[in-house]
């Protein structure tokens, strides 16, 4: 290990992770969502920015919650949420600066900076990132590395098939000797217009499929509203009384803030308990029998599904059985989604992996199949890996299929960051940094030459 006190920044759709290279977990994890309060005195962003976990969750009159990965400023352009649609660069810069200068209390111009990017990141974005890093942050050295490569390294494998089940995207990337393959890559891209799951839903083509954490949130939200559950977030409630009868709910006692918070803020807050539901209740169907099409009439099951009860913020208590698996099942079998897709129904995760493997050279297929690395926070769903392994073994009965996945939650969640940390603290890596001098000579296009 050779520490040069580099910083590692791993920007994701849901959170932005940042910390010092050589450590095993990021020092800070900031929501990529930000709040914007209309303020005529700061015309730069059409309002003042609220960045950070506390700021985003504070109740402010008129504050709208946005995500720089998917919105243009004050527009309703159809841009996909992801790096591909990273439009609002000013805000992104502010979030990165917040991570490094406020959360880490470091001076950004003193440290080399390693940034991770998804494999589908277009050249335009890569050049823009390079510009920000050298012009705005004035870093001494910088490098942009594919997150799939980092994830593979974090699982101590130079060659593997990386399956990253994240917040907005699920991607399947074959990595050979630390270099990601492009042709064997299948990219499932969550596409949404803005952070309003009900208003718009744009799924296009078979390459862009919404099979990740955000998709689960959307499906669960739909499932709850179908059940007729009042999804009042915790922040809006003054007190609650528990009840189990949905037809006769008690009166809601709401907190009075003196104003009605923005709809996007309420939805963001709703996501928090949906997220909790995902963590504590959702289960992946990993039985030998396929998932019953009608969950009210499941037929005979080898193992009765354990019953779990959950209390919603407004005090409604409900027991969940098979309906815990419905949303997660749609990751593997999108045709069973509670909320149907507009447009084409995408392929399930296992089928995507099969497609990716089929594109590979015959000689490395067996190696890839025995080195499947599963990362991403959504892969922490209960029995997710079991299900994936089951599907893959059914698809490839001949070769050995082996899934490798860390049992540690932080390692699974922050594996891209961890890989970046390993890389940036590696002595032999230091010759790869793009220095300020090189940037000054060549310009932002250097990224295309140096970091392929």
């Amino acid at each position: 290990m050779e520490a040069i006190s580099a910083l590692v920044l791993d920007p994701g759709t849901n959170t932005t992770r940042c910390g010092f290279a050589g450590e095993d977990t990021p020092k800070t994890c900031v929501p990529t969502y930000y709040g914007i309060v209309p303020d005529p005195e700061t015309p730069k962003y059409f309002g003042s920015l609220k960045i950070g976990e506390n700021a985003v969750s504070s109740v402010i009159d008129g504050m709208e919650i946005r995500n720089p990965m998917n919105d243009g400023i004050g527009t309703s352009q159809l841009v996909h949420i992801s790096w591909a649609g990273l439009e609002n660069w000013e805000v992104t810069t502010e979030i990165w600066r917040h991570c490094i200068e406020y959360k880490l209390s470091s001076r950004v111009e003193e440290h080399p900076l390693l940034v991770t990017e998804p494999i589908w990141n277009p050249l335009k974005n890569r050049e823009r990132t390079t510009e920000i890093v050298f012009e705005d942050f004035n870093v001494p050295a910088y490098f942009l590395v594919k997150s799939a490569v980092c994830e593979s390294f974090a699982n101590s494998k130079p060659s593997s098939l990386v399956i990253d089940v994240g917040h907005a995207n699920t991607s399947v990337t074959p990595v050979v000797d630390g270099i990601p393959l492009r042709k064997g890559r299948i990219h499932l891209l969550q596409s949404r217009v803005s952070y309003r799951p009900f208003s718009h839903n744009l799924y296009t083509g078979s390459e862009r499929t919404p099979l990740a954490g955000l998709h689960l949130t959307t499906q669960l939200r739909h499932q709850f509203s179908e059940m007729g559950i009042r999804m009042t977030p915790w922040l809006m409630l003054k007190s609650k009384t528990t009840y189990t009868d949905l037809t006769n709910p008690p009166q809601l006692r709401l907190r009075d803030y003196g104003f009605q918070p923005h709809q996007s803020f309420i939805e963001y807050q709703q996501d928090r308990f949906i997220h909790e539901f995902k963590e504590s209740m959702s289960e992946t169907w990993a039985e030998p029998r396929s998932f019953p099409a009608d969950i009210n009439n499941p037929g005979d099951m080898l193992r009765p599904m354990a019953e779990k009860s959950y209390e919603f913020p407004d005090g409604y208590q409900r027991r969940f059985m098979l309906d815990r698996c419905v949303a997660t099942e749609s990751l593997f079998n999108p045709s069973l989604s509670p909320k149907p897709f507009t447009g084409d129904t995408p392929k399930g995760i296992a089928e995507m992996i099969k497609d990716s493997v089929d594109h590979l050279d015959a000689d490395i297929r067996a190696n890839m199949l025995s080195n499947i690395v599963v990362v991403g926070a959504t892969s922490l769903l209960y029995r997710f890996n079991e299900r994936l392994s089951q599907d893959l073994v059914a698809m490839f009965p001949g070769p050995r299929v082996k899934l490798q996945s860390s049992g540690q939650t932080p390692e699974r969640k922050y594996s891209a960051w961890l890989g970046g940390s390993i890389l940036a603290s590696c002595g032999a890596f230091h010759q790869l940094w793009i220095s300020k001098q090189e940037y000054d000579e060549i310009g932002s296009n250097i990224i295309e030459r140096r970091a392929k």
């Binding site: 270099i179 009965p397 001949g398 070769p399």
Partner: protein, 514 residues
């Protein structure tokens, strides 16, 4: 006396030296006994190597680390990586060695403080470190380069343009011959053809070979060069075919995998039965060859020689008794004896009250002194002995309760213990069920010689029938397997059909032998 002890040891097979080393510790203990004056014997006994009754744990802080010389400080130092083309200076923490530190800082006492302050305040004052330990990992492969003249002379190809070949070599250089990545990144701008990895490999190796051959003719090459030259040989068709087969192998259906495993199991079974067949055949040969003629027969040609031969044969026959002639190892003999004992032993204790065969004296009945492996009729030798004694008729024998035995065992024993029951393991386990079915008690209530004889006969028949049934089942099973395989083979390609027929042919052979 010591001589007698040595003899006893010798007889018992105890190594004489094994007992020797015991003496020195005894002597040592005696020397320890000498205690200094002024200490009572009891107190002295507590001293020495005895472990203390209670572990003494001292409660105290860890010792201060003992540093030899001044503490080596860590210093944040700028460094340059010689592997880099530009003058990027990064900083890392380096441990100074104390000598170097003393040179820089004459007062070692406050070295830490001033050092840290130094590093924080004015790091640029240090000269950047020039050698970098990780620079040595910067290794690039040397890929063959060709000149324009060489290209024009031997490398022209209708399929590949010069620009595309250059592009290919650039990619190869960039990705260090990792073909998977090269094929993945291959996007030649002007190329209309979709190049496969095999195309690229074929081109690269042909270029390398041609250039090598041009620079040094094959006959002039050194051993190393020639080895490399031959290693560069690339057969594209063969590679494509190989990959096709690899792919086929990867995408086998579960049914195909099952069939393959079935074939492997079948092959193993055939191997095993073949082995068994060989063993049986060898045993048969041994039987037929016996007695082996070793040495000349000249010694036995005279009448006296013949007489000696007769006695030796007789003696050896006596010694061998019923020893199987087939196996010289003595294993079959054991097998012959043991099952009789084990078969009889469970019945013996429960029949304490039943009739016991008395050991008769020599005057009453007479013992057969001699027995052979197949003692069906009396041997001429026995006849001679018999001629002196009055022969009893069958009726008389029954009247006087005279019975003939192959050698009586001394002492008292149960007749049932002597019953000659079939030895097969399967018979042991299954006979009780059959007996129960026939309504015959497992233990004879009245084991006279007659009933025992009948019982033996019955048991033999049962065993024979069981053996027959087993054979029938085996043959049935095999027939079914072959039928199933033939059914499968019809639906399969010709090749697998031929494998199957091979299998069936070779597996039928051992069956006939049986």
């Amino acid at each position: 006396m010591s001589g007698a002890v040595a003899d006893v040891r010798d007889v018992l097979g105890i190594d004489a030296t094994a007992l020797e080393p015991r003496q020195p510790p005894l002597k040592k203990q005696r020397t320890v006994e000498k205690r200094p004056d002024g200490i009572t014997r009891e107190l002295y006994a507590l001293l020495g190597e005895n472990a203390p009754p209670v572990a003494v744990v001292e409660h105290r802080f860890k010792d201060k680390p003992k540093f030899v010389g001044p503490v080596a400080p860590w210093r944040e130092q700028r460094f340059r990586n010689p592997a880099r083309a530009d003058a990027l200076e990064l900083r890392h923490w380096v441990r100074q060695n104390p000598g170097q530190q003393q040179q820089q800082q004459p007062a070692p006492d406050d070295a830490m403080d001033t050092d840290a302050a130094d590093a924080a305040v004015a790091p640029p004052a240090d000269p950047p470190q020039l050698d970098y330990q990780f620079a040595k990992f910067n290794i690039k492969m040397t890929i063959l380069q060709y000149t324009d003249a060489e290209y024009d002379a031997v490398l022209r190809d209708d399929d590949w343009s010069r620009a595309e070949t250059d592009y290919l070599f650039k990619l190869i250089q960039e990705h260090d011959l990792r073909w998977v990545i090269i094929a993945d990144r291959y996007e030649f701008p002007g190329g209309s053809k979709d190049r496969s990895m095999e195309d690229m490999k074929a081109r690269y190796y042909s270029v390398c070979r041609n250039v090598m051959e041009m620079r040094t003719p094959v006959s002039m090459m050194s051993a190393e060069e020639s080895q490399l030259y031959h290693a560069m040989h690339y057969n594209k068709e063969q590679e494509v075919e190989r990959k096709r087969i690899v792919q086929m192998q990867l995408y086998r259906t579960p049914a195909e995998i099952e069939h393959e495993q079935h074939l492997i199991a079948e092959l193993r079974r055939i191997h095993d039965s073949h082995q068994q067949l060989l063993e049986e055949r060898e045993e048969l040969f041994n039987r037929l060859d016996y007695p082996q003629s070793t040495g000349s027969i000249a010694a036995y040609q005279g009448s006296q020689g013949l007489a000696t031969l007769a006695t030796t044969i007789m003696n050896s026959d006596k010694n061998k008794k019923r020893k199987s002639i087939a196996a010289p190892s003595g294993q079959p003999e054991k097998d012959d004896v043991k099952p009789v004992a084990t078969a009889a032993s469970p019945t013996a204790p429960s029949r304490a009250g039943s009739i016991i065969e008395p050991a008769r004296g020599g005057g009453h009945g007479h013992q057969r002194t001699e027995s052979t492996a197949s003692a069906t009729g009396p041997t001429p030798l026995k006849d001679k002995n018999k001629s002196n004694i009055k022969q009893l008729s069958k009726a008389e024998e029954t009247t006087y309760n005279v019975s003939h035995h192959d050698k009586l065992q001394p002492g008292v024993f149960f007749r049932t213990m002597k019953m000659n029951l079939p030895k097969a393991n399967s018979f042991m386990t299954k006979s009780p069920a059959v007996m129960a079915e026939l309504g015959i008690a497992l233990n004879l209530t009245m084991p006279t010689a007659k009933t025992c004889g009948k019982y033996e006969q019955l048991a033999k028949e049962i065993a024979a029938l069981m053996e027959l049934r087993k054979q029938i089942e085996k043959v049935d099973q095999e027939t079914r397997v072959f039928k199933a395989q033939e059914g499968m083979a019809e639906s399969r390609a010709k090749r697998s059909a031929s494998v199957l027929s091979d299998v069936s042919r070779s597996s039928k052979r051992p069956k006939k032998e049986k």
